[in-house]
Symmetry: C2
Amino acid sequence: MASKIELKSLVKPRSLKTFTPGETVQLQGMVFNTRVTKWGGFILLRKPEGVVQIVIQNDKTVITDEKGEAITLNALSRESAIAVDGVVNASNIKDPASANNQIEIAADAIRVISAPSTTDLIDQNSIQFDPDTSLAFKLDHRQVTLRNPRDMAIFRVNAVIVKAFAEFLTANGFTQIFSPKIVAEGAEGGANVFSMDYFGKNVYLAQSPQFYKQIGVGVFERVFEIAPAYRAERHNTSRHLNEYISLDVEMGFIKGQEDVMLLESCLLEHIIRTVESECAHELAFLKAELPKMPHTIPVFRLSETHEILMQHYADKMSMDHRGEPDLAPEEEVLICDYALKEFDSDFVFITHFPSSHRAFYAMDDPDDPTLTISYDLLMRGREITSGGQRIHKEEQYIEKMLKRGMHPENFKFYLETFRNGMPPHGGFAIGLERILSGFLGIPNIKEVSLFPRDINRVAP
Amino acid sequence: MASKIELKSLVKPRSLKTFTPGETVQLQGMVFNTRVTKWGGFILLRKPEGVVQIVIQNDKTVITDEKGEAITLNALSRESAIAVDGVVNASNIKDPASANNQIEIAADAIRVISAPSTTDLIDQNSIQFDPDTSLAFKLDHRQVTLRNPRDMAIFRVNAVIVKAFAEFLTANGFTQIFSPKIVAEGAEGGANVFSMDYFGKNVYLAQSPQFYKQIGVGVFERVFEIAPAYRAERHNTSRHLNEYISLDVEMGFIKGQEDVMLLESCLLEHIIRTVESECAHELAFLKAELPKMPHTIPVFRLSETHEILMQHYADKMSMDHRGEPDLAPEEEVLICDYALKEFDSDFVFITHFPSSHRAFYAMDDPDDPTLTISYDLLMRGREITSGGQRIHKEEQYIEKMLKRGMHPENFKFYLETFRNGMPPHGGFAIGLERILSGFLGIPNIKEVSLFPRDINRVAP
């Protein structure tokens, strides 16, 4: 055999946080910035956890280019991939992007592994440092502009949220499923659906895994999914994405939607605690304060919410919203303000939306069938999730579909699920970008999507 | 406030494996089957972990229907959602679908929470029990036929593979990313791409996250993604899916593709060990034996592979494959047989595929530019993954694109990534359904996709 792979030789990357003064180290990374002084200078080396300061002494440090020839620090391009040999020294770094502000590295040798062909984009300092650079420019060159500590911090928090979501649900008996995104019917109805040709058939991109997660409950009792979802909305606002990541949960054998709301609250608390403990550096850098989740989260009915706001915030509202079938954006902001002041909570549940304004699968309230057993969860002035109890009887689905002018024969496989027995169940979907945006206090959702898709943007 | 959610009251579901004789228990589940005897009978209750036997005694157990009226066991429909009150008794259950074969539950009370409207589908025993039921029928009614121990075991293993994949990579410094599936260009080229209208633009469904994971390396050094991928292939075989889950990995600062191959080997070993320890019940039920991963995995060049097979298996091959640019399916089977016999390995790496037969981003071998630094990993007779080192210099991309008649101006954002500096890097993609199928010895990939998509099937 020409060669072989020996399993035991995998070396885990070491965290910069474990580096201690006096150690001889070798590390590799990208040159984020350089500063030349009379006696040598500094390299800010970019690592996944943040930057680390490398000290260059002209009389000691040898810098070589890709061909092995000696060069000066001045000739070292930003965004070069380099290898560093050196010794860890104690330090006191003020840069908030620093991965470990207790250390720096005195370099013996710097070797360029790969240099960029130009640095035209990078040399516009604005791309990496200036928060005033236009969002359009940053998004147009996302493939490079992501290489800055702020964006890196955002997407490290993103990854930790997803990890915490999956680990909490797995520990609570949920099975992760993967449902198709090419579907024959849209689950949410309406015109906001992308269609395409699939070998001569007209098909859709899934607006949500709703049907499939309900089917999953019939099989596994409790399921979750982490996957893209598609909405062909023509809005181009700071709140809309046409492709987003939906964190979906569905559970069986519930007594009512309170079981679902409790699960979601405990899940969010676990996510917040995990981000708090694993992303202290990122939160500090982003000056982000995580939302407050008290042990008691307030719950208001929609009708009650309109009343509370008229009572306490009439002067701050453009109009009287009582009797409306949904919350107005200004009401979302104000009821969150109320929940924070009265209950010290950045979260508030709103329940009992009118049946006419919720999806057909929402269970109607037996006490008042014009309402549904459904909820929205608001965080810091915005809806981050919709949930509730679902219908679990075929005859109730058919009755509701017919009442709405829908055609049960278009939902054959879905209805077969209920015809063959289903437990009472409910669930919710969290928009990943929405909670990330809320956690970090970044209002424009496009900034917290790695490569956002909107009505004008399909690249990069 | 009308109500509130108290965080501390969440109860984790208890595993049936922790049930001990003498305990009084309450549990809920679906009636998978019933058996009536003279003195009472049995219910096989379906839980996510498997089934549990409930013992009914006519003179002791009270069974009530949805309205609270007493019924006989005979009147209890399969696929009813029920609540059981009873006492755990020691037992010795032979059913391999049993979640805990040391116990059964003597029921005091059975309460029907929700009964199916009909059981026409379920009463065809074939759906749930008979392995000879046609795959087409099973897939047509997947929403119900998944409710059997075999399919449940398959998809529990699926979830554990995904969990192990993410946990190993996270522990090794990889950041999980989410890249768009609506893209302006296909990464893999060719005609096998689904296109659609996106607000008046023609766009594609991503064949792979290749461009985005490479961009991710420039930012985070090491990234992974778990997401659907799309191939508009017209083949309708047991090896093809038009939508599948791709487990993608990309890492920077590699010395060569051996670093990538080592990472993938260690990752697969971790996945195998995790499945072994967490899915013992499922593996036993499916009579599956996990693949053997020795500490030394053999690696052969493509040209060497052709030679070895001519030397050892000439009589088993339909023709002489030497000089061909890829492995023939019969060669995939035979080289795996060779690796198992000679190296006790169910895995074998094949390297150095011709440049003409690999994607444009594969790095050409400096020792022989007609070849690439790329590999396939075969397991048990099938390719489960492709990987290798990628080009990291813009000028090499442009040169290779022009040589192939590709238009660099169509890849503007991708090329900008390399122009602005990239470390040497490489990665691989594992087809989730392919490793699941190989682990479990289930040859038809459609059986291991929850809701498979092929040229004829977009529902359920």
